[in-house]
């Protein structure tokens, strides 16, 4: 397992592949991202936000902006450190329960799921030994 983690950390980021994946769903995802009014009204719909004393990092919009939003903003040109930060957001801070509500109608779960897919393409995903009491596993 340790070997798997070290492989995750060592492997070079394939920016071209990330960009190709991002372009595949650009029409939908970029629209979702650009029409988010940053109103924060989605916050209370996330049980993790409520559980963690209303920590803004658990807001659905925060998670999307700092994961998929970052990937699109940087056009896929990200390093492994950045991808590992996104990994924490999309796996540890979100359980993809699908309960998030956006008044404009933006579908947050599909964006988090897509960010996960992009990360998986770079062999970045949670390992079993990363589980903790507040983990996704």
């Amino acid at each position: 397992m340790d070997q798997a983690i070290s492989n995750q950390d060592m492997k070079e980021v394939d920016a071209k592949k990330i960009k190709e994946l991002l372009n595949r769903r650009k029409g939908k995802m970029k629209r979702f991202l650009s029409y988010c009014a940053h109103c924060s009204l989605c916050a209370e719909s996330c049980f993790l936000y409520m559980k963690y004393k209303k920590d803004p990092r658990y807001m659905p919009s925060y998670k999307v902006i700092h994961s998929l939003g970052t990937l699109y903003r940087k056009r896929g040109k990200v390093d492994r450190k950045c991808l590992n930060e996104i990994k924490g957001i999309v796996w540890r801070n979100c359980v993809l329960c699908g309960r998030c509500y956006c008044p404009i109608g933006i579908h947050v779960p599909s964006m988090i799921a897509f960010a996960r897919a992009v990360l998986r393409s770079q062999d970045i995903h949670p390992q079993h030994n990363e589980a903790s009491s507040e983990s996704w596993l």
Binding site: Y35, K54, G105
Partner: protein, 221 residues
């Protein structure tokens, strides 16, 4: 410059606004051609229970508890009033309708000037509330960028300059030019910026399949 702002720029702004919205509308339907019933309508043989008027009102009031009315009633009221007036107040303003009549020979119904002035003030107060939220509420601040302030300014500037112009505060000609310019900027930017949620709110909530849709839409991305 003044002639351009008060003349051709208005036509350009309206053309960009209408064509831009049309383009985004077409793109939306092109991207959501695939249909899938996530929440299918009831089969014909199962007829929904007939409700009396009282039951309908009661069920509406109950379902409101599951909406933002419960979690943030003040913001719900402010945002509803702001968005309604953002479109309604300029459309039924006497000054705008006189210009419309002079240009095209027809106009819409006009509200009394004092009422329009009051509605403009309400829009400005709502705008100040949004600005205050962005500056003071931690969770809003966490996702706020400079772009959000610019968008808020674009939305509020025509009302602020209109409010000044009506009272003839500052240099009238300059304020009027800024009013027309800010109105044009707003029209041009709506289809291509965050302000486009004006169109997408209806498209998402009415046509896309989803639990929170107003209608049982079936379109999927």
């Amino acid at each position: 410059m003044v002639d351009f702002v008060q003349g051709p720029l208005i036509s350009i702004a309206f053309i960009v606004f209408i064509l831009g919205l049309l383009f985004q509308w077409i793109q939306f339907f092109r991207l959501t051609r695939k249909k899938e019933w996530g929440h299918p309508p009831l089969p014909r043989e199962i007829k929904p229970e007939k409700k009396t008027a009282g039951k309908i009102v009661a069920s509406c009031l109950t379902s409101l508890k599951g909406t933002l009315w419960k979690t943030d009633p003040v913001l719900t009221v402010v945002t509803t009033v702001f968005h309604v007036l953002l479109i309604g107040a300029p459309l039924f303003l006497l000054g705008h309708n006189i210009l419309l009549y002079q240009s095209w020979g027809w106009s819409l119904f006009s509200l009394p000037e004092a009422l329009s002035d009051g509605l403009t003030l309400i829009v400005l107060v709502c705008g100040a509330y949004f600005l205050g939220r962005r500056l003071l509420v931690a969770r809003v601040r966490a996702i706020t960028t400079l772009y959000d302030y610019v968008v808020l300014l674009i939305a509020v500037a025509p009302f602020l300059t209109g409010f000044f112009a009506y009272r003839q505060w500052f240099h009238y000609e300059t304020v009027m030019m800024l009013h027309i310019l800010s109105g044009n900027i707003m029209l041009i930017t709506i289809p291509f910026t965050k302000l486009g949620h004006m169109l997408f709110f209806f498209l998402y909530r009415f046509f896309l399949g989803g639990e929170y849709g107003f209608l049982r839409g079936a379109r999927t991305w």
